[in-house]
Assembly symmetry: C2
Homo-oligomer: 345 residues x 2
Amino acid sequence: MVITIKDIARKAGVAHTTVSRALRSSPLISTQTTERIRKIAAEMGYQPSAAARSLKTNRSQVLGVIVSSIDDPFFSEILQGIDDVAQQRGYSMFIAASQRDPQRERSIVRTMREHRVDGVIVCSTPFSPEHSKQLRSYEIPIVVINNQSAEDYRYSIHHDDLDGSRQVMLHLIGLGHRRIAYLGYAHSGRTNQKRLTGYREAMQAAGHSIQTGYEFETDDSTPQEGRAAIQHFLSLSQPPTAIFCYNDMLAIGALLGLQEAGLHVPDNCSVAGFDNITFSSYTTPPLTTFDQPKRVIGEQAARLVLGLLDHETQDRPEEPRIQILQGSLLVRASTSLPNEVQKCN
Amino acid sequence: MVITIKDIARKAGVAHTTVSRALRSSPLISTQTTERIRKIAAEMGYQPSAAARSLKTNRSQVLGVIVSSIDDPFFSEILQGIDDVAQQRGYSMFIAASQRDPQRERSIVRTMREHRVDGVIVCSTPFSPEHSKQLRSYEIPIVVINNQSAEDYRYSIHHDDLDGSRQVMLHLIGLGHRRIAYLGYAHSGRTNQKRLTGYREAMQAAGHSIQTGYEFETDDSTPQEGRAAIQHFLSLSQPPTAIFCYNDMLAIGALLGLQEAGLHVPDNCSVAGFDNITFSSYTTPPLTTFDQPKRVIGEQAARLVLGLLDHETQDRPEEPRIQILQGSLLVRASTSLPNEVQKCN
DNA sequence: TTCATTCATGCACACGTGTGCACTATCAGC
DNA sequence: GCTGATAGTGCACACGTGTGCATGAATGAA
């Protein structure tokens, strides 16, 4: 049976309001009464009803977190960061995966609204404008991690992709590569754009031309797609000597694709990834990549949302709060001085 | 502003109860009224309050999911399976990571109780007896995936680890290996026990003795630990010719450790993993492993909990409902006929 | 016309918690 | 002993929704 404050009140011989106040340590109640009631509550195993409290206080103590997919190692590290901070502050997480499916996005927005979540973290997913708008109309703080959509959000946390991309490119160019290809991910939105821009700017600054076919985008960010993309690059008249991949998932596939084509990494072709997911250090060869502070990104996002909850809707800071976090280049063994690529097939 | 059924009632010129009934398509309300009210509700952007509904109906439409860690690829695939089914049935997921930390377990149990989750899925984590008991005292269905604790739960879904372990071992033994080691994970509870049992039984059945030091357990299921364990195995007077790892994370580390010791896999030593996480097919060489139907496990667990919700506490099936799912062996390139292991160092 | 029947709707109350206000008891100061 | 202040507690009501029951209107049969 579920215990309510009324049950406690009956046992303690007081009104239920006294119990309510005692448990919230209101100064209106005497110390002895408070302690007596607390003891009884503990004995009876009382747990307040979040529903009732939320109804009355308009606070659900729940954060909504929207990702495109839970089983992507990049997201799950961010989730872990959010979870840490949220748990510590007494908040629970609703996690929902949109799978980039409009139907599911719709149902997610509905659910979050129905549960009156106190804040939402949209995690690196290009939410459709329609649903995004719905979410915004509902006046709660929304923090966007790695904003992928075209719109600007007022509160946003992202990694400095342009800088990261430049660093990776400077590394490759510094090694002497001139024929560098970019393997992107078509559905990622802004992030991909930034990394692509970094690629182009670096190539231009170094005076290297981007040959036709050197920019290639996949439909999914899986190793399979990365592997398949290698066929494209190898079919070019002048295959690249280095491939900069949008993320580690694609890079891991690229490693396999190159190996299957009989090419050696990095002797015949260098490969660089992005994100530094756990497995990037266990590939053969270990992957050169750019380390995004994933956990920190998650933690900061959670702190930002929770911080905004302390303000009322109207007096939330007008100016956008955008945090840009820096990462660092990790040079491992998948990149080296360029040799001529031996063309296969 | 948040719209309530009273606002709709005012606009429609009816009582709020009529609105409540209309929106729930009660037969008591005429078709025209129902449609008119529905239209107004849609126009006003009404979203029912889950808190209020939950207070009245004693149903929160929320499932609690407890894992030890979100960013473990094995768990996240299961989570994806649960999420699929839950979303489809209109349920939301509270996900909380215990990190095997009693403090966090405590806070998780509290949160789940306060939110009156309708059911709980405990996912492959050895929950402490104390908190586990608390959870059970609260009369909601609990489904345990890959039960790791000593207690028996009435509703449980697990993979047939004993069978899987035997299959892996038969494969290794069939290849001709006699000196086979088992690399386990100390904190996993039952699962590790079953796999270890399968290992021992298979060795005995084949008439192979298990040499001292061939059974070794790590403190964490990370590649780093797997890598470190290799030093132990190589320090034995007769190093194994094959290593059967508790899971792919350890196996991936083992591959690296062997490689660093100058040994070739599988020529000098075969390695087999377990679980078939995504990355196991991208290692060098690709890992022989046992494919657990992770997504299906998650889906079945969700179906089981949701199914139990249709019954009242007292008329839930008395006899335990335990589903045992079968997986299948995936032979890749990390296992082959045994050669003599060349001892290094 | 009257009564019974059916259909549609409203009223009152409940779920568990929190808050403004009123009430009582106690005590100091005169 | 009276007044006023203060501390401690209870009452009434609210949050948004759902349900049993009563009410009222409309219909059909006698």
